[in-house]
Each structure stands twice: as structure tokens, then as C-alpha cells.
Symmetry: C2
Subunit: 357 residues, 2 copies
Amino acid sequence: MSDTQLHAIIPAGGAGTRLWPLSRASHPKFLLPLGRPERSLLQATVERLAPLAHTITIVTGQSHEESVRAQVADYANIRILSEPAGRDSMPAIGIASELIRLEFGSQAIVGSFAADHVIADEQLFRELVHNAVGAAERGYITTLGIEPSHPSTAFGYIKPGATVMEGVRAAQEFVEKPHVERAKVFLANGYLWNAGIFIMQTGALHRELATHQPQLGKLLAELARQWYDLNQEEKTERWSELAAIAFDYAVAEPSARAGHVAVVAAPAQVGWSDLGDFKSLTHHSGGAYELPTPTAVDARSPHAYGTAETPPIFVVGIDDCIIVHTADALLITTAEASQKVKEIPAQLKENGHPDLN
Amino acid sequence: MSDTQLHAIIPAGGAGTRLWPLSRASHPKFLLPLGRPERSLLQATVERLAPLAHTITIVTGQSHEESVRAQVADYANIRILSEPAGRDSMPAIGIASELIRLEFGSQAIVGSFAADHVIADEQLFRELVHNAVGAAERGYITTLGIEPSHPSTAFGYIKPGATVMEGVRAAQEFVEKPHVERAKVFLANGYLWNAGIFIMQTGALHRELATHQPQLGKLLAELARQWYDLNQEEKTERWSELAAIAFDYAVAEPSARAGHVAVVAAPAQVGWSDLGDFKSLTHHSGGAYELPTPTAVDARSPHAYGTAETPPIFVVGIDDCIIVHTADALLITTAEASQKVKEIPAQLKENGHPDLN
């Protein structure tokens, strides 16, 4: 195999509402410098994939196309596909894969990587992707599963099965986010976190769609053939006909049941994080929004983030307190509660505060 | 008896460090409009006592003398005594009482009232003081004890004994701030909160001091006789010779054991509060520093206070959260932990941050 065969797909969607008020509908998580001070998560993702990938296709919402284009202007071989509307991850990955199939053939390998995750050990990451490409060349829908460091309830899990080639096992089952007791059982049984990384031949994805989502597969293939001939209005209309469905539900889960999915286990030291909420952010340092650690009295591990001029912060009697101070909002929460932060932008949307949303 | 015999003493000391960062060494709690938007706690105290008292004597630190004088400029019959240094409450009350004894005699009644407490029902308060003056005329050191609304661990308690006259009982014992289990037992046994209000003849206080603190009593009586003849340096030197001791330890406790203290029970509806910490402040509305109630997600009863321009505040997953935002500090705590806030100014003092202290 050769790494040059890999075509990276980066679905850049999602508002990152659990990171509100840093992440907003107008400048969502992937555009923010949360991983390093001077790179957005998207830029860091592109930088990580550029040495591995022959081409990179970013699929993003129309409202973010301009920002995305500006952020990746330094790179050649990047295509930006603009979604007329959000239809979840399957249409986004599917249209990119079908376009690559038309251009590079059914043997071409695509890899889908989230725009807003971080990886600490990029050397190890490249080796793991290399292994996954090997499995993809044999026809598997191949995923990277992360060895869990704790019984997280924030991620789905993958149950690994028999070894199918060196360093690669069958993925028997994808399981949704569990309760903590179930997560502990998963850990004890060697389950892996589903990091949403999928590597496969364009032809393999085409086949799996034909089996499990025949209507969507057919529409995507047709739309890809006409993509560059349609005007915006036509594209919008055709796009609205696609089922809004996640890649996991449309392909990963049914294909795993059919024995067509393989998993490469990524050791915890690869340092993958989805920076999915403020608790996750506190385990990762180096982002642009970190404020000086608050002074604590009877209060374990406070963390503060912000974009506003903030005076010194003091926390008394609250463990794992997280403070986020922007110019227009002050959020107080804890690591434990940080998953619920997403309810605020949801409420603001309902109550007609689009400026804060 | 006649109300005109009462001479009010207001010891205006203490930094109110549990209300940091609103209360500072340079503008402590009693100077702040915490009870009503346009009156400091001291001004509200003077306003409450003016109809009851023939004279008012405020005893305050030299550094606050000017602020105090400005705040009470509208009142006649107010004397301000400036303490060269803080020596706790006994010297402050004692010097005022001895000066009043020299001017109005040993039968004159003094009443000591904290500068920074609030009373909701002032009509009821006046009636209770009236009763207490009656007991003081019979020679008792007389206190108002507040009927507890809950087993507070923030106050000392008074154990009432036999009835000594209508509406007045002996105060058998003063007990220091208890743990919560002991506080519950106190409630079950009819104990009252010690609000630090003491009403007595100047001669009675003079006698009790002669018995329980003879050296301090002698020095105070001498100092009072010379007070207006001493220059500042002499006053400072003489003041430094006084024992730094609280009125409760010096007089109330030993006099109670000797059977010389009476207590008038104040029903809870008198609405006394010491506004001693942020938890206490949340039970009292009307202060100048209240900010709009934060938006809560899975978070009971958040409260915000501030003097700074503060954006909308959101609290996720923390019950009884209290946020205080001044121009130079942001404090996050809870009602339960709010007693510990005082540790911050203590630390800042140690670490040499006098500006924040």
C-alpha cells in the first residue's frame, strides 16, 4: 500500500454547543483555536492530515464556507464542498466519497476525520492510519478505536472481535453512549471508544450504502455525477431530498453486523480527544482561551476560559469549577455538569436570543 | 422609664471579610448599601436608632472616621469616637459608655447596636428595645435574643432561664457558635441567637467591668476622664494599653454566670439579620449590588452581586451558586461554602495584595 492513495474527508459541521459560549452558531468549535493558541481545530486537523493524504475534501455548511476557505488558504489539493443544509454526517461523507470515486476510482481509499478533535502523538497516529489503510485495501470499512482511559459516558463504544490481519480486528458491534455502570463493563471487556474515524475504499462505501441505504446511496451517486453542473438552487433542492442520517447509523452499525467492519486499536497514548465539553477541555492544555488558574479555597482544580477582559477569579467551596467569560456571557459550571451546557444555547434559540446563541 | 434616656453606641469596626470582594479593608461592610439601595448599613442603623436614642455615639477606626462623618452628617446629637487601633468590641463600647457615664450619670442607659445588621420590622424592634430598657433600669445587662429560624452555625446562642419581669428572662449562659447537631439541640431547647445587642446602665457596665476585667475597667474609666484633653499621640499610647477583647467574653459571659444578664426574646418576624455572609445576603433583598438572577440549568437558586459591568450570567449544575463580580475580582462560591470566603482576603493580605484586600 501507499499513503498517497488516501483521500481525506473532513466533515466540518456541528455547533459544539457544549462549549458555549466560546463556540457559537456563527463561529463553531472547529473554527476556534482550542487545541493550540494559533491554529483552529480545523487548521490543526488539516496540518495533521496533509502529509498523509493525496487530497483533502472539507464538507461544511454554506455559512462557514468563507471562514473555512480563509483558514486553509495555505494548502494545495484542498477542495471545499458547501452543504446547502445540514443533513448529518452520512450525506457529507457520502458526497465527498462519491466525487472521489468518480475521479480516482473504486479502489481509491477515503478516510473521514472529524474537523474538531485533537491528537497528541501524531507519529503514532500516522502509523495507525497506515494500518487502517491496509485493512481498507482488503475491502473493510475500517475504523480507529481508542483504548479508553476511563469509563466515559460521552462516547459510543466498539466491541472488537477476531483478528482479521496483523494489528486489525473485526468490529463486532457499535454501541451507543452507555451509562457509567455499563461503560465499566465495556472497559473490562476491552471495548474501544468510537472516535468517528472511518477509512475505506470508495467502492466499499458505495456497496455498503447500496445494501443498507439504497435510496440514499442512489441519490448520492447521481448527485455526485451532476455536482459541478448544478446551479445553487438545483443543488439545494437535490440536497434536501437526502435522508439526514449519521454515518454510524447508516453504515457502521449495519456493516459491522454483516462482518464488513474492521477496527485498529489506538493506544490511549495517541492522545485523542474530541474536546467535546469543558471537562474534556480541562484535560487538554494549550488552547487560546485559557485564563490564569483561579485561586481556590476548599475547591479542587478550577479552570477558567475566556475571551473577555477578566479580573482575577476566586473559587470557594466548589470542586472542578469551570468558568467561561466572554464579552457577552459568563458561564459557571463544573466538570461533572459540563455536558449540560448545551441546554443553554438550545434555550436561547427557543427564547429568541440569536445574538447569544 | 422613658426612651429619651437611651444613649445608643454603635461600634463600627470589622472588615466584613466574608463579604469580600464587595467589602474591603478600605470600605468595609458597614459603609456599603447592602440593606437598601441608597443607604449604607451604618446609615440605616442610625436612622433606626435616631427616634429611640437621646444621643448616638459611633466608635470607628481612624481610617474610616472621615467616611463615617460624611455618611451621618445629616444627624444632630451624633458623636464619633475614633479608635487609634482596633482592640475588639469591649474597649470600643467601654470608652463610649464611660464617657456617657461622666456626662449623664450612672443611671443613664446605653445600648450597643452593631453598625452592619438589618432589621425588617422596626416597629417591633422599638417595642423590644423598650422592654430591654425596662430591664436595664433594674440593673440588668440586657440583651435582645433572636428566636432562631433554623439551626445556624454562624451565631452564638443564649440559653434563657427564669422570667425576671414581664417579657424578660434571665440569660443563663452564652454559648459559642455550635456545630449543626448541637445547634439543633439548642433550637429544641428554646435557645436564642446572640445578636450582639446589649442595653444597660452605664453604672452596671462599670460595675461588671470592675468585677470581671478590673484592669481594663480602671484604664477605660481613666481614659474617659482625660479623653478630650489628650493629644492624638497620647491617646494612641493609652489605647494600646487596653486589652483587645470582645464584649461577650469580657462581660456578657461572666455576668450571665453571676446572674446579672437578662434577655428579651425577639420573635423571628423582627427580621434581624447580620448579613454576615453571602448566604445571609441571599435571604435579604433590596441591596444595591444585586444583579439580575442568573439563568439556571439544573441549578437551584443562583444569586449574583456586583459593582462591575457584567454580561448575562448562566449557571449549569451548581446549586445555590453565588457569583460576585467587582471591577477587580470575580468570586464564585455557594451558599454552603460562603463562610469560607473570608479566607481569601486573609490569603491576599499574607501574599501582599493590599489592593485586592
